[in-house]
Symmetry: C2
Subunit: 218 residues, 2 copies
């Protein structure tokens, strides 16, 4: 029997976002009393909450969320758990030696969700500032593996180094990054990942509903 | 070989929405020059473009998009094509007699996408005002079948009668409505529908990326 696991943080009015990015708001716009039905207005960064980065996030000539083939966002995926039953310490560096223990998963076209346990810090003051980070070497190592999608439970692949983003999103690497995933501890080693972006015209990213489908015959 | 069909209209800055609803905008917020990366700010109605209605859209005690089980939004689905190779005329009434020809599809728990061909009028002046509509009797007939999800290529199940919305979204019927779908003419009779809402706290609806997965062994 297939079951769904929600890998998405809830989007609540005025919740924190990446420092300096647009604020997130949900405003009641129509109500049953005013219009006969409820309608809300959403204001969001393209990188609010659980979301996806397209190469255009760091490259003006990179692919935008609406120009990436749909099969990139949905299909067989693997969990790489770097902290089984726990969480990496703040600002842990994730290097090649750590990733090489899971080298079997990093094959061309793979969708890999990397678990650090950092989603427990969601809504804490340090969520955006002190999360574990890929080293530059690790980013190059991942890019060279030509995987299709890298999912993280951190809000970014690196706290301080924008170059890590650039290496992964480089149009030559063509990797889609999913950030601020939740509940990865509930995943089996293999599952179907579903996380389509909204069809936002020419955009660098999109909030997504990230979901795992487990136990289905594939 | 499985293939994906995009059932979603593109979301472009300042595109039309349902009359009186919040406007849709995509604004550049950060750029490579200003911040080292591109980030955009999105402003949208919960009912912009291809989107989903939860019962809370018409019932203050109805389920919100973040409280509906995930399996409602993804799984086996059927196309009911009311205008093969063409489109219904503006303001066509869709009655019980029409639906009864497809009664086999309307079983409890079914996900049904109803094709009228109206998606061709997207961005035309009459898209929101003159589309084909379910009759009140047809809405009651559908609700009584206890289907799980009703998808439409029109922006609403009825041009003039809010009661049609109420009948379908009534917490007793528990039907999720997907509106303004595109490209339904590309669908086979049976497929996997995927259309998860964003995890919007307490919201009445959500823009979605609606996708069909065809040809996969199920």
């Amino acid at each position: 029997m297939a079951r769904f696991i929600d890998l998405t943080h809830a989007l609540a009015d005025a919740q924190p976002g990446y420092p300096g990015d647009p604020e997130f708001h949900i405003r009641r716009f129509h109500t049953l009393a005013s219009a006969g039905f409820n309608v809300a207005e959403i204001t969001a960064s393209t990188h609010q909450g659980t979301h996806l980065d397209a190469p255009y996030h760091f490259f003006d000539d990179g692919a935008t969320v609406d120009s990436i083939p749909l099969d990139r966002f949905c299909g067989e995926a693997s969990l790489v758990d770097l902290a089984p039953h726990g969480a990496l310490a703040p600002r842990t560096g994730i290097g090649i030696a750590t990733l090489e223990k899971h080298a079997d998963a990093f094959v061309p076209g793979a969708r890999i969700l990397l678990r650090t346990g950092w989603d427990r810090r969601w809504h804490h003051a340090d969520f955006f500032t002190d999360h574990p980070s890929l080293t530059l070497d690790a980013a190059h190592w991942i890019a060279s593996r030509r995987i299709a999608l890298l999912g993280l439970d951190t809000p970014s692949p690196s706290v301080e180094d924008l170059e890590v983003h650039r290496i992964l999103l480089d149009p030559a690497a063509q990797i889609v990054i999913v950030e601020s995933l939740a509940n990865l501890e509930q995943l089996p080693p293999r599952f179907t990942f579903i996380g389509f972006p909204l069809r936002l015209d020419g955009c660098d990213g999109s909030p997504i509903r990230a979901v795992a489908l487990c136990g289905e015959a594939r």
